[in-house]
Each structure stands twice: as structure tokens, then as C-alpha cells.
């Protein structure tokens, strides 16, 4: 029966127009697919390497600084231009939206491997409250530069790790790469939201109750590793909690427990500024101060000697 089918297939394997055996097109297709993937990947890498985005700067060895900022999106509250203006010191930020401390740990390691230790590390510690696994593949864009990222990807997201080995285009299918395109001509250190929280959100914030901040042991452990690494290199570490919208802060019932746990793990005191700004006009939403709020916040930190 199989022979019968094969005989029938022989009749139609020649393409009627080209006369070329149709099976030939399969390896041709695979070859075109592979070459196109690698060529596109190479071009995109060249484009990405010209970006002024913070993580590109890290891997292009342009990140050396006196004060290193780290955290999730709340770490962006430490607006670099304000700090540089106040302190006359070079500031570099590794804060990113949704960044968990385990991922941050990878970038801190890479920072120390590529740069002289900064004088100070300011770490916004609420980055240990959630995993955000969705963000991990986004940083495969930088996997080519860093063995730490590759090892982390292989452990945390093997599908992405092997996928990006197979297709180089896949490495650039990420929000992080899109951001690097956005900052091809100007640095991202000047970005901070100027939006003011809407009336509707403010009204809704009054109804909030029992908001929790999660204590995740693995992420707390990553915080501890970050602190230990920085201290071993002679960097002074400041652990900070940036402001929350007052109504949101009021609804958080376990922030104190969270702080106690961070202090227990790291052996450092957490400086809690979660209620340091009260006026809602300084907030973009529940968790983020806007650029006006940041100016006020940096003033407070400066007066408290955090940058000294």
C-alpha cells in the first residue's frame, strides 16, 4: 500500500511550472528562514546597541556611577536629574516596571562585573513582593551580553531560553527592546510620569481595604544577596520605601511586617517614606509619585542625608 502511495506521489513531485522537484523547496525554505532570522537578529542587535536606554547602557559599559538606584517602577521615583542636580554626583538607575528582586539581582551582578563599585546603592525594597514572571523573557534581548541573564533565563523560563537560542528574532520580541528603540536618540533618565492621579481613582482609593504586600521568601533572599554583594564591594546601601498614595497606604495592613522581614534578612534598617507625601496631586496613581512628587521626595531624602 505504501509503495502504491509513493508511486502516485512520484507523479506530482515535479512542479508543473518550474520542473524542479517540490521536495527541494523544503530545505530551501528552512535555509531562507534560518538565514533571515539570523540576519534580522544581527541588524536588530546593532540597532539596540546604539540605544541610550539604561539596560543597553549597562551592557555597553556606559553605566559607571557614584549613586546606583535599583527597584521596580517605584524605584523610578528617584528621578535621576534631580539627584544629580542636588548632589553633583553621577547617578545611574536600574529600576524598571514590575522588576522583581530576583531579576534585579542579575543586573546588579552584571553591574558590578562591568563597573567600579558605586559609592552608594539606593534600593527601593518593595520589589520583593511579587515574581512577575512575565517580565523575565523581555530581558532575553540582553542575553547575548550576559552569562548571568542566560543562566537566569534557563532556570526561570526554559521555553524562552531555548526559543531564543533557536530564533534570534525572538530575542527582540519584547517590551524592553521596544523601549530601547524609543530611546535611540535621547536618554531615558529624563522620563517620569507627569500625570496626576484622576479624580475617579482618588475616589476609588477611599474604598480600598485590606491591601496586602506579599512577603515572598525567595525574593527576600534575593534582596539579601543584592545587599551582601554591594556591601562586599564596599558600597553603602540604603534601603528605602518610596511614598504610596495616602489612602492606599492606609489600606495596607502588613507593610510593617514586610519591613521587619526585609530588615531581618538584610541586617539593615529600612527607611520608610511610604507616608512622606500626603498631597494626591503629587501622585500618578496609587503606587507612583509623578515628576512633581519626585522633586519633593528627593528634597526630603536630600535633607535626611540619604545621598551623602
Amino acid at each position: 500500500m505504501l509503495t502504491d502511495i509513493r508511486n502516485k506521489e512520484k507523479i506530482q513531485t515535479q512542479h508543473p511550472a518550474t520542473g524542479i522537484n517540490r521536495w527541494v523547496w523544503i530545505p530551501v525554505f528552512i535555509l531562507v528562514l534560518f538565514i533571515g532570522d539570523r540576519a534580522s537578529g544581527f541588524v536588530l542587535k546593532q540597532i539596540e546597541s546604539r540605544s541610550k536606554f539604561r539596560f543597553t547602557a549597562l551592557y555597553q559599559n556606559e553605566a559607571a556611577c557614584d549613586i546606583l538606584i535599583a527597584g521596580n517602577s517605584r524605584g523610578l521615583s528617584f528621578y535621576q536629574p534631580f539627584i544629580e542636580e542636588k548632589t553633583n554626583q553621577k547617578v545611574f538607575s536600574l529600576a524598571y516596571n514590575g522588576m522583581s528582586s530576583s531579576l534585579l539581582n542579575v543586573f546588579i551582578k552584571d553591574y558590578y562585573e562591568r563597573n567600579a563599585p558605586p559609592k552608594k546603592l539606593i534600593l527601593e525594597v518593595t520589589c520583593a513582593d511579587r515574581y512577575n514572571k512575565e517580565l523575565i523573557p523581555a530581558f532575553s534581548t540582553y542575553a547575548a551580553y550576559s552569562s548571568n541573564i542566560r543562566a537566569f533565563l534557563k532556570k526561570e523560563d526554559p521555553n524562552t531560553y531555548y526559543g531564543t537560542q533557536l530564533s534570534h528574532l525572538l530575542r527582540y520580541n519584547s517590551e524592553v527592546f521596544q523601549r530601547s528603540l524609543r530611546y535611540l536618540s535621547n536618554s531615558d533618565k529624563f522620563w517620569l510620569t507627569d500625570r496626576t492621579i484622576s479624580e475617579a481613582m482618588q475616589a476609588e482609593s477611599k474604598t480600598l481595604q485590606n491591601v496586602s504586600i506579599d512577603n515572598i521568601p525567595e525574593l527576600q533572599e534575593s534582596l539579601k544577596e543584592i545587599v551582601a554583594l554591594a556591601q562586599s564591594k564596599g558600597t553603602e546601601v540604603e534601603l528605602i520605601i518610596a511614598p504610596f498614595l495616602p489612602n492606599y497606604r492606609k489600606a495596607m495592613y502588613n507593610l510593617t511586617d514586610y519591613i521587619i522581614e526585609v530588615e531581618r534578612r538584610t541586617g539593615l534598617k529600612v527607611k520608610n517614606y511610604s507616608s512622606s507625601i500626603q498631597d494626591p496631586k503629587f501622585f500618578g496613581d496609587y503606587f507612583h509619585i509623578n515628576v512633581f512628587g519626585s522633586e519633593k521626595f528627593i528634597d526630603i531624602l536630600h535633607k535626611d542625608g540619604i545621598f551623602d
Binding site: Q12, I20, W25, L33, D37, S167, L169, L170, E204, D285
Partner: protein, 522 residues
């Protein structure tokens, strides 16, 4: 097992290797086993439901074809309908009605400890139930001969490419194809593979990317500005289109590679110039099913039947009773009175009245078929209303456009715009979690609060999605002039280039994860 999963890639590779290595009965058994494995991989317990449904309809079909006694034929058909709709009603609607009824009792001051059941909705039940029902109805109508081979019939019911989200293929189209010899056919493989890739592009690159933005919008509509929400609603319109038509493309493409021809399920619906055309282009297999097995039996656009009054009355009574929207009674009396007066004019007016009633019943049932909830029913009501309003106003509207001497191209553009706008409005109810959420979205959009680009969040996703939609619309416009399928077969260079291009785009723009197809839930 989802089409967009590694497991399916392994499954389909093994399947095709075996499929072309065997013929005749072994191939049929392979199809059936593969279909059951595919479905069982999701939840093996529900295989029994498909098997039961298959056995009932196979038996009923055979018995109907064996007798000329009309009473017995009717009874047998009724048995099949009760069994199929009974399964559907139990698994899909039982909890919804119990919940609503409980709400009614509690609000009437009656204490109740009535509880809902922990029922899981079997994937694709709405699709295979309708497919199965069409078989017995067609035999009853003497439009189809009963299938003698239960293996063929079981494969027809459970055929894995279209089992869980259609298209709903009629037995009269599908069963005869089992008797044809299906050789390894290069041209079919090329066409089918192209369609499968295009389906993946729609699903993985477009629909899943749009979903990132849409989900945020509809999960907390109160927190966004009007422009953000407008983008969210338009994105949802394209998300559901790309998700569903993407699935259909994959299903039709896989079937084509296996040697089966399925009818098209979508024909660029957002290019429709009126609502009737929209339903001839959107989920064609469902709308034609509803037309042939519901709308026309109710009387269609010629006359009415007892069913026209019964269904509309039933819908109205259930809605008012369970939602306790007693205020609905007054507008219903007014509309009913107007319709009664219109019908009394006799002749064409009487026929039109029935047409309106039949359209509304069909669309309401269509809405309820899609999902369990009042928002889905309201979505059906809106589409029913659109079809009625179109019939009432299309002539004066077209005359107005002609009087204003608006060029035909612009008239078409206006018509497409109106249909798209109204469709998007209806999608708000389809996607919103509740009427309150839908109201929040509509209110926010209408107020134009925060109507600025700076108030739009996730701009990178928006830019990426717009780029993808431009690609989609561009290809769909070009496809009206060029037959891509023939070009794929004729030109190996075009074939290699287009296949590779689609895969590169998916790699670069795709959103990967465990996003199930939206229509699986229906």
C-alpha cells in the same frame, strides 16, 4: 491541547506522518482516535459526552431514515433535539438560571438554600451540538441520507481541527468527503499550510498582542481615560476577529492538508456596508446555521409562525422575571402595540412585522449561544435591533446620501464606518464583565474625559498593535484583488518568501504564553 502549544506541534507532526502512511479504514480510525486524544487531552471525562451524543444522533438518524411514519419521525427528531439541547442547557445554562432564580426568590423575601452545581463547561459543546443537530434535522427534512458507518459519523462529530471552535460544518457538506480518496496532494498541502500560518499570525501576533491591552481596559474600566478606552474597544473588535478567524483559518487549513474542504467562516466582516452583510461575513457557519434551522423555520422574511410569538414572549418573560427589570414592560407594550398596528395594515406590512420578530428571536438566540449572561443576550438584542433599524431606515438614508450627491466611494466609507461603530458598541457589552462595567466604559467615552494621547497608557503596545493591524488590513485589501492561495501554488519563490515572512513576523511580534482561543469558552 491548544493549537498554539508545543504539545499540538508534536501531536500534529505525528498525526500527519501516520495519516499519509495509511489509507481507508486505518486512516479513519486514526482520525477518530486522534480527535478523541485531542479532546481528551483537555478533559478526558467529557469524551463520554461526545460519544453519547454521537450514539444518540447516529441511532436517531438511522431510525428516521428507516420510517415514513411522520409521527414517529417527529418523535425521533424531538428525542435528538431534547438530548442535544438538554446537554447544552445543563452544562452551559444551568448555573446561570439557578443563580438568576435565586436572586429573584431572595428579592421577593423568600429564603432559599438553593445552590448551584460545580459544572465545568465542556469545551466546544456549542459547536458540536449544533453540528450534530443539523445532521438529524437534515435527515428529517429528507435533505440528507443517514450515515451507515458509525466510525464515519463519530469522526464527523469529533473531527479535531474544528471540534472546539468550529467552523460548524454541515453533515451534507462533510460526510460525502469521507468517501473520496485522499492522496498526498502537494497543492492542498501548500494552500492548507499557508492558511494555517496565516491563522497563527492572526492569533499569536495580533489577537494575543491586542489582548494585553484589552484585558487591562476591561478589567478596570474606571481607571482609564476616554481615548484609552476607545482604543481598547476598537482593539477588542479586532482581537475577537483575529482570535476567532485565526482559529477558523488553522482548522480549515489543517482540514485542507488532510484532503477535506470546509467552507469559509469569515470574509473580512469589518468591510461590511450593512448589518445583513456583516452577518454574511462574520462566523458564517453559525449565522447560516441560525438562518437555515431557526430563522427560516420561524417564517423568515415572508411570514410568521407560532414560534415567532412564542420565542419573543419567552425571552421577554424570562428576562423581566429573572432580572426584575419591571420597567421593561412599558416599552415592550409600546413596541408590541406599534408592531400590532403595523401588522394590522396587512400585506407587506404584516410580512415585515414577522420579519422583525424573527430577526430579533434569531439574534437573541445567537447572543445566548455565545455566552451565559445578560450582557450576551443584550449583545444579541443590539444586533437584532440593528438589522430591524437597517430595514426601516436604509432606503431614506440612501436617498439622503444620493440627494447630497455624495460620491459612491465616500458613501461606502460612511456605511462601513457606521457598521463598524455600531458593531464596536455592541462588543462593549459582549466583553464587559457586567452592565455596570459597560456603562462605565460608554459613559467615560461619551464624556471624552482625558481624551489625550498623554493619558493613554501602554503606548508601546498600542504602537505595536496599530502596526500589526495595518499589516492585517493591508493584506486583506490586497487579497480582494489577488488570489494568494493560487499564487502560493504557482510561485515557489512567493511561497518560500511568504511562509518565511509570516514566521519571522510571528517570532518578532507574537505574544507567547498560554492564551486560549476566546471562542473555546462558548
Amino acid at each position: 491541547m491548544f493549537f498554539n502549544s508545543i504539545e499540538f506541534l508534536v501531536f500534529i507532526s505525528i498525526f500527519f506522518a501516520l495519516y499519509f502512511a495509511v489509507k481507508g479504514l486505518p486512516r479513519l480510525i486514526l482520525c477518530l482516535v486522534a480527535s478523541y486524544v485531542f479532546y481528551g487531552a483537555w478533559d478526558w471525562r467529557f469524551l463520554s459526552l461526545i460519544v453519547l451524543s454521537t450514539c444518540i444522533d447516529f441511532y436517531v438518524g438511522r431510525q428516521i431514515s428507516l420510517t415514513e411514519n411522520e409521527t414517529i419521525r417527529k418523535r425521533l427528531l424531538l428525542t435528538s433535539m431534547i438530548a442535544n439541547l438538554g446537554f447544552l442547557a445543563f452544562f452551559k445554562y444551568f448555573n446561570f438560571f439557578i443563580d438568576s432564580f435565586k436572586g429573584l426568590l431572595i428579592s421577593s423575601g423568600i429564603e432559599t438554600n438553593m445552590s448551584t452545581l460545580n459544572i465545568i463547561l465542556p469545551m466546544g459543546i456549542s459547536f458540536y451540538t449544533f453540528q450534530s443537530m443539523s445532521y438529524t434535522i437534515d435527515i428529517y427534512r429528507r435533505q440528507l441520507k443517514a450515515e451507515k458507518d458509525i466510525l464515519v459519523f463519530a469522526t464527523y462529530i469529533s473531527f479535531f481541527p474544528q471540534l472546539v471552535a468550529g467552523p460548524i460544518v454541515r453533515a451534507s457538506d462533510f460526510l460525502p468527503q469521507f468517501t473520496m480518496d485522499k492522496k498526498f496532494d502537494w497543492d492542498r498541502i501548500i494552500r492548507g499550510f499557508g492558511q494555517v500560518l496565516w491563522g497563527f499570525f492572526k492569533k499569536v501576533a495580533i489577537a494575543d498582542s491586542l489582548a494585553l491591552y484589552v484585558d487591562l481596559c476591561f478589567d478596570a474600566p474606571g481607571t482609564y481615560g476616554s481615548l484609552h478606552l476607545i482604543i481598547g474597544v476598537v482593539f477588542y473588535a479586532f482581537q475577537i476577529y483575529c482570535d476567532f478567524s485565526g482559529y477558523s483559518d488553522i482548522a480549515i487549513g489543517l482540514a485542507k492538508m488532510m484532503g477535506f474542504d470546509f467552507p469559509r467562516n469569515f470574509r473580512t466582516p469589518y468591510f461590511s456596508k450593512n448589518f445583513s452583510e456583516f452577518w454574511e461575513r462574520w462566523h458564517i457557519s453559525l449565522s447560516s446555521w441560525l438562518r437555515d434551522y431557526l430563522y427560516i423555520p420561524l417564517g423568515g422574511n415572508r411570514n410568521g409562525s407560532f414560534g415567532s410569538y412564542f420565542f419573543i414572549g419567552l425571552f421577554f418573560a424570562i428576562t423581566v422575571l429573572l432580572t426584575q427589570w419591571w420597567w421593561l414592560i412599558l416599552p415592550a407594550i409600546i413596541v408590541g402595540g406599534l408592531l400590532f398596528w403595523y401588522k394590522k395594515q396587512g400585506g407587506k406590512q404584516e410580512a415585515k412585522t414577522f420579519t422583525y420578530l424573527n430577526l430579533m428571536v434569531t439574534m437573541l438566540l445567537g447572543g445566548l449561544w455565545h455566552g451565559v449572561g445578560w450582557t450576551f443576550l443584550f449583545w444579541g438584542f443590539l444586533h437584532g435591533s440593528y438589522l430591524i433599524i437597517q430595514r426601516l431606515l436604509s432606503k431614506p438614508f440612501n436617498s439622503l446620501l444620493n440627494t447630497l450627491r455624495i460620491p459612491t466611494a465616500l458613501q461606502n466609507l460612511i456605511a462601513i464606518g457606521i457598521v463598524f461603530f455600531a458593531t464596536c458598541f455592541a462588543w462593549i457589552f459582549f466583553r464587559a464583565r457586567s452592565f455596570e462595567d459597560a456603562y462605565t466604559i460608554i459613559n467615560s467615552i461619551a464624556s471624552l474625559a482625558d481624551f489625550s494621547w498623554s493619558a493613554v497608557l501602554h503606548k508601546l503596545i498600542v504602537v505595536k498593535c496599530v502596526l500589526l493591524l495595518v499589516m492585517l488590513i493591508g493584506v486583506e485589501i490586497i487579497a480582494q484583488k489577488i488570489d494568494f492561495e493560487s499564487l502560493l501554488v504557482r510561485s515557489p519563490v512567493f511561497r518560500v518568501a511568504s511562509y518565511a515572512m509570516i514566521l519571522w513576523i510571528i517570532a518578532f511580534f507574537g505574544t507567547f504564553g498560554s492564551n486560549a482561543f476566546i471562542y473555546f469558552q462558548f
